[in-house]
């Protein structure tokens, strides 16, 4: 089957500037201390995702999951290797990114949806559905700055989930909202999956991964350590034996 995501021999290195000012830089040079630190976030990662597959990206914090997701969405470019996609990429990477606190909910929905690539006609058509999904109808003409953090995230989430896409990226965002809202979100994501969308799902929640994914990739310090079925990934990560592991259960 033709792949919709191809990641080939990808390296991503971050340079951490140790010195912030000219004075510090000069002092470091004099003392022969390094000015920058490099940090390999991803090393030689390769995989392909066929259309309609739902892949979990697992691993500890700092293992490179979010970086990989950013490479797939195009926010960052790899230093070495290639990332190729087919179709439109969207996702729940940063819900509410670009929300401006001084604009009303309505204005922010339009702005955010346009940022995510929707046309004016598309937004107008989906507006009611977005607001309905978010459950903040009463406050839609209030400035977002006055929203509670839950309302803010729900509205952001509602916009994201209404974008048309072929590849849907999800980055640990299901931690937001109350239980009914989380349930609604999961239902929506499952619907995307059954509609044949390709999904990349970053999560520490093994139960959700089991429910949603066909395949799991495990990253360890930037390397692809495991690629296989979700069940085997569970064994690999020791979720089944170590029930007290805080990563294993709910958040």
């Amino acid at each position: 089957m033709a792949p919709v995501i191809v990641v080939k021999e990808v390296n991503k290195q971050f340079r951490l500037q140790r010195t912030r000012t000219l004075k510090q830089t000069v002092m470091s040079l004099v003392k022969r201390k390094p000015i920058t630190d490099t940090f390999l976030a991803l090393q030689d990662v390769s995989f392909r995702v066929p259309e309609g597959q739902s892949v979990a990206l697992m691993g500890l914090n700092g293992s490179g999951k979010s970086t990989l997701l950013k490479l797939i969405s195009g926010v960052m470019a790899p230093d070495h290797g290639r990332v190729r996609v087919r179709g439109h990429v969207a996702g729940l990477i940063e819900v509410g990114a670009g929300f401006h606190p001084d604009l009303t909910g309505r204005e922010n929905v339009y702005l955010n949806a346009a940022i995510l690539g929707m046309s004016e006609a598309e937004i107008s058509e989906k507006f009611d559905s977005i607001v309905d999904f978010s459950g903040v109808e009463r406050f839609i003409d209030t400035e977002v700055g006055n929203y509670s953090s839950g309302m803010f995230m729900r509205l952001g989430f509602a916009v994201c989930i209404h974008t048309e896409c072929d590849i849907f990226l999800i980055d640990e965002v299901l931690a937001v909202g109350d239980r009914p809202f989380k349930k609604k979100c999961m239902e929506r994501i499952h619907k995307l999956r059954y509609d044949g969308r390709t999904i990349v799902f970053v999560s520490h929640n093994y139960n959700q991964v089991q429910e949603l994914c066909d395949r799991a990739l495990v990253l360890e310090s930037g390397r692809l350590a495991f690629d296989g079925s979700v069940e085997d990934a569970g064994h690999y990560l020791g979720y089944d034996e170590d029930e007290d592991d805080p990563d294993a259960g709910e958040f």
């Binding site: 089957m1 195009g74 926010v75 990477i93 940063e94 204005e107 346009a114």
Partner: protein
Amino acid sequence: MTQTRSPAPASDHPLGDLRPPGGRGGLVDVFRRRYLLSLLVRKEIRVRYQGSVLGLFWSYVRPLLQFTMYFLVLGVILGLRKNVEDFPIHIFSGMVIVHFFNDTFNNGTRSVVRNKALIRKIKLPREMFPVASLLVSAYHAGPQLLILLVGSFISGWHPSAMGLATFALGTAIISVFAMAIALTFSACNVFYRDFQNLVDTIGILIVWSVPMIYPFSRVIDTAPRWFENIYLSNPLAISVLLYQRCFWVDSTSDPQATAASEMPDHLLARGLGMLAVVLVMLVIAQAIFHRLEGRFAERI
């Protein structure tokens, strides 16, 4: 794998070919997404004076104050008003250009860093932000142009074909030049915030580098010939002169004589040459921006 589908040949896949994620970017992409651009511009305009009682009026306080000071000190106290006919128009036609440029330069340079939340998380044509800054500045320049127009009519302005041509040319040069500078500086500012401080410093120089509060003829009279060419290699100076040719020269009692004595030779030709130069600068600026953009998300 729960889903089975018949494999499609890679070449005519319904979702198209494999491509690098995020699109090509660039000013062309900004134009393609002009609905988003219009929303960003509207947001900027609304948000800038949010919570201030006088609102948009603040956009006019600074130029108005500056204009008054220039006119009082240079026009009245130093007596330039007597040598330069319609001195207020002379100043104001320059100020429209200088303010538009400084506004774009200032906000454009900071625009990318200001939107770091978006840069880090969502793939957009990032040129969008400096372009939005330029359009917001243009929006604010509108009423200033209107004031200039009314002032010119009061001073007896008779628009000429030449004047309208120089107005169009001046607008084109200053817009392209401001865009090129804003693109370059906004990208560099991601890596070194020194650039936004540099902007304020350059802003002080700009006022003195254009024939706004002093007439161009003074430059010719006092400086050697070679300096005139250096002076006129500044796109801002050319734009100011082109605006003055439109509004100020055609407001004076004898436009022909004023143009001959106060404007540089071959102004229109110089303007066209400058337009070509700034267009090349814009292409270079876009290339610089594109090159640096790859590391925006990690360095911002």
